[in-house]
């Protein structure tokens, strides 16, 4: 098994594109190493991207934020300004695993592991994040909701990697929130995840919203109907009910050791509502 740690995106792409056998990107390793130890994966080449500066930077760009694919959850948590603008994205990244896991886990890895239960993905999708990919054919941008196609299935070509994410500029009175359901208080994979991002006007009416649900389908969902259910409202009780119903209607979950179909559908509605209320509360106090 080869290990390479290139210092440029082009170098990483060349290694991955040229790999004969199975090749894997290493960022935080919190999924890759576990899968290798479990004999699920036996790559011939590991490409560590952490020496590539673009993957490790958090910078303001065009009014928005560019977050490198290999920035850890713990580092995001320590970024005071990012946390203020995108509390939902930051809290989602910091729910992954434990303090130790957050010290390594990255947004890029969390997305590219291809699990529809990934914690940071619903928050990124709700935020309208766009992934910047780089591959043998060059750079391209893809909305995050289009990157994960199914369990362990990504829209990446051979040699293509996620280099960074761009979070769009924030309108005034906007905020986001991410909630997940787990049976314990920490450490579990999300049984349901809900990310909500919204904007309110001076009168308290929601003018824009995005709602994303995780762990309730083969991919992380962007639920347009759920957003429509609350835009134009103050998230009063009827709007909340519409939101819950729309969230539930979008779910296509499975029964597994973490939850039943029935449970996931029911809780998806509850969490969408609760996340929206938190996002609204944050948005109102965000001027």
């Amino acid at each position: 098994m080869r290990y390479e740690a290139p210092d440029s995106l082009e170098g990483a792409v060349a290694l991955l594109a040229g790999a004969r056998g199975e090749a894997r990107v290493l960022a935080g390793g919190t999924d890759l190493l576990v899968q290798m130890r479990a004999d699920v994966l036996d790559p011939e080449l590991i490409v560590d991207i952490k020496k590539i500066k673009e993957t490790r930077a958090v910078t303001e760009e065009k009014g928005g934020w560019r977050i490198g694919a290999a920035v850890t959850g713990a580092e995001l948590k320590e970024h005071a300004r990012l946390k203020k603008v995108w509390p939902g994205v930051v809290e989602a990244a910091n729910l992954i695993g434990s303090t130790q896991v957050q010290g390594r886990a990255t947004l890029g890895g969390n997305l590219c592991n291809g699990s529809p239960a990934a914690d940071s993905v619903p928050a990124l999708i709700a935020a309208g994040a766009v992934a910047t990919l780089i591959g043998p054919k060059g750079k391209r941008d893809l909305p995050v909701e289009d990157v994960m196609l199914g369990p362990r299935k990504l829209a990446l070509g051979k040699g293509e990697i996620v280099a960074s994410f761009l979070l769009p500029p924030r309108a005034a009175r906007s905020s986001d929130a991410y909630l997940r359901f787990i049976p314990r208080t920490e450490m579990d994979i999300a049984v349901v995840g809900a990310g909500v991002s919204l904007t309110v006007d001076g009168a308290g009416l929601i003018t824009a919203a995005r709602v994303s649900l995780g762990a309730v389908a083969a991919r992380v969902l962007l639920v347009a109907e759920a957003a429509q259910a609350i835009v134009g409202s103050r998230l009063d009780a009827p709007a909340q009910e519409r939101l819950e119903a729309a969230a539930r209607a979008a779910c296509r979950p499975i029964d597994d050791k973490r939850g039943t179909v029935e449970f996931r559908i029911q809780v998806a509605g509850v969490l969408a509502r609760r996340a929206a209320l938190i996002a609204l509360d944050r948005a109102r106090s965000n001027n």
């Binding site: 314990r184 450490m187 039943t260 449970f263 809780v267």
Partner: protein, 770 residues
């Protein structure tokens, strides 16, 4: 501390030392090594030239082994030995005690290495020893096993059906009349009967009958099994293993490998948790067999997945309880039927489950039946008070229901029926002084009990019992030349034992605590010790120390008499010295242990004592737990808000470590009640063989656990000690189920009470709203 002048003083035994270390919170002697990473646990031992051993395990829950071809594995460079069933002689049927359960050598040899069949996913089929882990893992892939897959059965009720897939064609139910002609999966039927329950039920104003179901749960020790073996050409074998009973390991290994017991020397490493799960052998015989074949040391460590798939959890069970009471709350008749899964081989803890079910209560008519049933799951191993949490969960739930229906306070109801001194337990013995009522009263007096609750919060209380054991114990005390004391015990220290025993030795000999250095001796250094289990190590170890100390004191008195030309009634041993009495005191000065030690050669030789006993008189420990919890009705998620444990320790040799037992057992119970369970697919394969999906409580899941130390001395122990380690896991299941009922109005009769189950139940009643 209870004002009981029993135990030490009543036995005419004075501690000697004016301060007394027993009952204080000394720093444990093995503590510094444990907080610095220096302490050596099972996987921390290495020998030069060692090989790494790994096990090939069955992917099928039930299959006949048609053939095993190890030739390709043996040919792989770096592989030095491969073993299969061929390397173990068969064992005739013979039952032996293993902790508080019984096992059969015929089953042990088959569990350690499958013979005719594989009986669970994870069952060991072959093992290799190679120069590196990577080579060992590759070698396993080269072993070709041909299986004839058979239908499997994993549910206990289904396994009991006459048409169920049969695990053993030589298993005929013991304990039924007439003796069955056909084999089945029911290994045993046990029964206890007192009075006439049918007549008793006729006197009841209220009868509650319920059926409960629990799933297998794992002890969850953080340290996987590990063993390091080295066998010499003359068969002398040395083994380091993480175990609760190195003498038992020695016995099993000697037996399975055809060795003289004396030729096998086992060292118990520091142990990273056991809770009963490390009272049996898994890797040890394999490591020895591989080492014998390879002629090099072999080290084997289980992965976490192997721990879950191939070591024994405790039983899952179905329990039916029927309890009758008068309208005033007096229990008049009690019936229960327990069906416990043993896993692949017989030996579930259904017997202790049967014994403990109603033990906290004084009931005239009791009838409990238990079935030991095999199924295609790993062979169960003991888990802290084996069998009792399950049966007592069921009984305590029904007691709570009776309290509610009769509109009686649940503590008052238990008080009314509580076993006390003189009660004859349904399973046989008459209780001496016991502390159940004290624990109930302690709970009643707490601020916790008297704090109001809010909506969707609930409070539950439950009591529990474990009988505790004594057993064969050997300890040696050696006086070193400078008067320090070397204490060698022979029961592995799983959580503070050395601190407790050092306090006892210090008090017995009247020396400072830090002048006593304890170690756990290997099997070659100290006489036989039964394993650490049954809550016996502090109880028995301290008893044996009293004996050993007596010998030293008597020896020193004899030497003083010789030296001073005095008679025994002119001297006494007190406060660490032999002291002249009366007129003699004007002639000679007292001599300390250290002073005798300095001239030991002149007075006859080295000074020491041994205690070799079969400790009797273990007193039961009763406990009562109180829990507050809150349910989120929209998601079914439960938060434990507050938890109090009151348990009778008899006498706490080291209060902090006794509290630690209460707290640890309570949290294991919280996990068992809310989130822990083995999850199987229809294919008979375990789906959650890791800490991610086998959900044990984490630090943020639980609050502080308040521990109330009740001390109703055990008159049969010189210090009044009762074992405490196991009882703490018995009440939580009932207490939490009762609190759930209090919070939701729904009686959950199936564990774990995980969120999907709770939400479903609430939704069915249309109450899943805040």
């Amino acid at each position: 501390m209870a004002d009981n002048k029993i135990g030490a003083e009543a036995n005419g035994h004075t501690n000697g030392h004016p301060q007394g270390f027993v009952g204080t919170r000394q720093i444990r002697p093995d503590g510094v090594d444990k907080v610095t990473g220096r302490a050596r646990f099972g996987a921390d031992f290495n020998l030069p030239g060692q090989l790494i051993g790994r096990v090939l395990r069955s992917p099928h829950p039930h299959a006949r082994i048609v053939s095993i071809d190890t030739s390709k594995a043996e040919a792989l460079p770096g592989v030095k030995a491969v073993i299969t069933r061929e390397d173990f002689g068969d064992q005739p049927s013979e039952f032996i005690p293993a902790g508080e359960m019984m096992m059969n050598y015929k089953d042990v040899v088959r569990n350690v290495m499958a013979r005719e069949k594989v009986l669970y996913e994870g069952h060991a089929v072959a093992a290799v020893a190679a120069t590196t882990t990577a080579i060992a893992r590759r070698a396993l892939k080269l072993i070709d096993v041909k299986y004839e897959v058979l239908p499997h059965v994993i549910d206990v009720v289904l396994a009991m059906r006459p048409d169920a897939p049969l695990l053993h064609d030589d298993l005929f139910t013991v304990g039924v009349e007439p003796k069955p002609e056909k084999p089945s999966n029911i290994a045993k039927r046990v029964e206890i009967k007192v009075g006439d329950v049918e007549a008793g039920f006729k006197k009841a104003d209220l009868i509650v009958e319920r059926e409960f179901k629990t799933a297998p749960v794992h002890q969850g020790y953080i340290e996987p099994h590990a063993a390091l073996a080295t066998v010499s050409e003359d068969g002398a074998t040395e083994l380091w293993t993480t175990t609760q009973g190195h003498f038992i390991v020695r016995a099993h290994c000697a037996r399975l490998l055809g060795l003289d017991i004396g030729k096998v020397r086992v060292t118990a490493t520091e142990i990273g948790g056991g809770f009963g799960g490390k009272t049996v052998v898994y890797l040890e015989p394999l490591a020895i067999a591989l080492s014998r074949k390879a002629k090099r040391p072999v080290k084997m460590v289980m992965s976490r997945e192997e721990v879950f798939k191939a070591s024994g959890p405790t039983s899952g069970a179905t329990v039916r309880v029927k309890l009758g009471a008068t309208k005033d709350g007096k229990f008049v008749a009690a019936f229960a039927e327990l069906k416990y899964q043993a896993g692949a081989f017989q030996g579930s803890p259904v017997q202790p489950g049967t014994m403990c079910a109603y033990a906290p209560y004084d009931i005239e008519h009791v009838h409990v039946i238990g079935y030991d049933v095999v199924s295609n799951r790993p062979k169960v191993a003991a888990y802290r008070a084996p069998g009792a949490p399950i049966s007592e969960y069921a009984v305590e739930s029904v007691v709570d229901e009776i309290a509610k229906k009769l509109r009686l306070d649940p503590i008052e109801l238990r008080m009314m029926n509580a076993a006390h001194e003189g009660t004859k337990a349904a399973y046989g013995p008459k209780f001496g002084p016991i502390g159940l009522e004290e624990t109930l009263n302690s709970i009643k007096k707490t601020e916790h009990w008297n704090t109001p609750l809010r909506k969707w919060q609930g409070r539950g209380v439950a009591s529990g019992f474990w009988f505790n054991i004594g057993g064969e114990t050997s300890v040696s005390l050696t006086v070193n030349e400078d008067g320090t004391i070397s204490l060698m015990a022979g029961t592995p220290d799983i959580g503070g034992l050395r601190a407790a025993l050092s306090s006892v030795a210090a008090d017995e000999l009247g020396v400072p605590y830090d002048k006593v250095r304890p170690i756990i001796g290997d099997t070659g250094s100290v006489s036989f010790n039964f394993l650490t289990g049954g809550s016996r190590s502090a109880f028995s170890g301290s008893m044996a120390i009293v004996e050993a100390a007596k010998q030293i004191k008597n020896e020193l008195i004899a030497r003083a008499c010789k030296l001073w030309e005095a008679k025994p009634d002119q001297v006494e041993f007190k406060d660490g010295a032999v002291r002249p009495l009366g007129a003699l005191a004007e002639k000679v000065k007292p001599m300390t242990i250290a002073e005798f030690a300095k001239i030991s050669g002149k007075l006859g030789g080295p000074i020491g004592g041994v205690g070799r006993i079969n400790a009797q008189g273990a007193g039961p420990s009763f406990g009562t737990h109180l829990v507050d919890l809150e349910v989120d009705p929209e998601t079914g998620r439960t938060t434990i808000l507050r938890y109090t444990v009151a348990q009778d320790a008899g006498r706490a040799l080291h209060p902090a470590y006794v509290e630690g037992q209460f707290q640890g057992g309570a949290v294991q119970g919280i996990g068992w009640a809310l989130n822990e369970e083995y999850i199987y697919g229809e294919d008979g394969k375990l789906q959650n063989a890791g800490f991610l999906d086998y959900r044990m409580p984490v630090a943020s899941d639980v609050p502080m656990i308040d521990a109330i130390l009740v001390e109703v001395g055990n008159p049969k122990h010189p210090y009044g000690v009762r074992g405490v380690g196991e009882t703490p896991i018995v009440p939580p299941l009932g207490a939490i189920a009762n609190a759930m009922e209090n919070a939701t109005g729904i009686r959950f009769t199936e564990l774990a009470m995980s969120p999907p189950k709770v939400l479903k139940a609430l939704k069915e009643q249309g109450r899943n709203k805040a």
